[in-house]
Amino acid sequence: MKLILHIWRQKSRESPGKMARYEVSNVNEHMSFLEMLDVLNEELIARNEDPVAFDHDCREGICGSCGFMINGVAHGPQRGTTVCQLHMRHFKEGQALWLEPWRAKAFPVLKDLMVDRSAFDRIIAAGGYISVNTGGAPEANALPVDKQKADLAMDAAQCIGCGACVAACPNASAALFTSAKISHLAHMPQGQPERRRRALSMVARMQAELFGACTNHGECEAVCPKGIELENIARMNREFTKAAWARRDEVAGSGRRRLLPRSFP
């Protein structure tokens, strides 16, 4: 089959970009969307033109590298699917498709359909981890985990960090991504020691990276290839609010209450 593609072409981070029109024939309905772009790129290379740059790695929907907008929807028309797993049988002969990179201040375009998502890494580095001392592995059964909580943690941990939530959000908010990690660890016993600090730090980082605020549109949940739910954002709001109000200054006082006034020299 044949498709008309309008693709965002941008040489580098600084240069201005624009939409360019391409026609790809020889599209097989069994191809994935990325394989279809490979076909286009081979033609472009044969014509001595610059191939379209896009991120990809596993091509089996588990790494979170791929992703761009197809006709204004992150990862395209198939729900719960990354573009690498989206097959051409979902498109019609002669259909016109608009491909654009994720748009967010925090995700600058590197080239064509590729964006820099390192802001996500910095959000994780701000608190999306647990501190584990080295040594022998603890006995697994010594730490019971409620089945339901384990399931909820597992669901939240499904996030592959592709950035579709930010791209789809009218506010370019990273609330779904950040809340998935906060939820994941808040459900687990191993996540408890750093629970409050994690919520504060990750939200602070998310904001410092210039992601927007969640206004509960729900676009993120709809495009998430891993089905991360909006409930996680409510959980993040809860975790953050509790942590912000219950926080107390960290004092090393051997557990004694501080009796001297704070301004005491």
Partner: protein, 249 residues
Amino acid sequence: MQRRKADFPIEGAKSALTSVATTEEAKQTVGFYRSVVGKKVVMAVTGFILFVFIVFHLAANLLIYFPPEANGTRLLNDYAAHLRALPALLWGARVLLLVAVILHIVAAWQLTVLNKLEARTTGYVKYTPIASSYASRTMVWSGPIIFFYVIYHLLDLTFGTLNPSFQSGNVFHNVVADFEHPGVAIFYIFANACLAFHLYHGIWSMCQSVGLAHPRYTPMLKKASVALAIAIGAGFCSIPLAVMTGLVR
């Protein structure tokens, strides 16, 4: 690439393992408000206060449908007189509402600037919403329309400045005289349609913002928001329609 330092002084925002106590308690509220989550919580709480007011206001307004009593007085006027006889309650509520309105608007303004001017600086050539509602995408319009309507509404029916046949204390007369002008009635209906849209998204959204979500109750809550929004909008709009059709005179 542009990166900012985390700009609210909540302790945990600092490097995680070596943080030393430096923040005073006083900064806590400020820090909470400076966060996007804090602003949304403020919007939710103030929105809730305004929502409760609207429910009471509607209930009181519907007194207009009671027929005149034997001595010719109207229940709506009696209610207004009783309310005025309780200045502490009246002024307490007014101050609370004013503070709520100011906080709601300031937070909305700041979040809108962040979302539209800072976070998404480049738009899409093609963007297709697939989950958000018309109501959720137009909160930023329905809000200001309601705000400007409320200012007019206060000048018209509370202070009487804009109402040529204003009779202090005779609420029934003022309302009926008002809605005999089709322009006033249409503005009122339009503003209340906006209010219904605002509540359609706002009621469930405020629960989500303060962290109330549950797979069992959230779907019910969304349905309840729609029902309440329609009921409130219809309740208010029925009054000008009743006056115009001569049902209330």
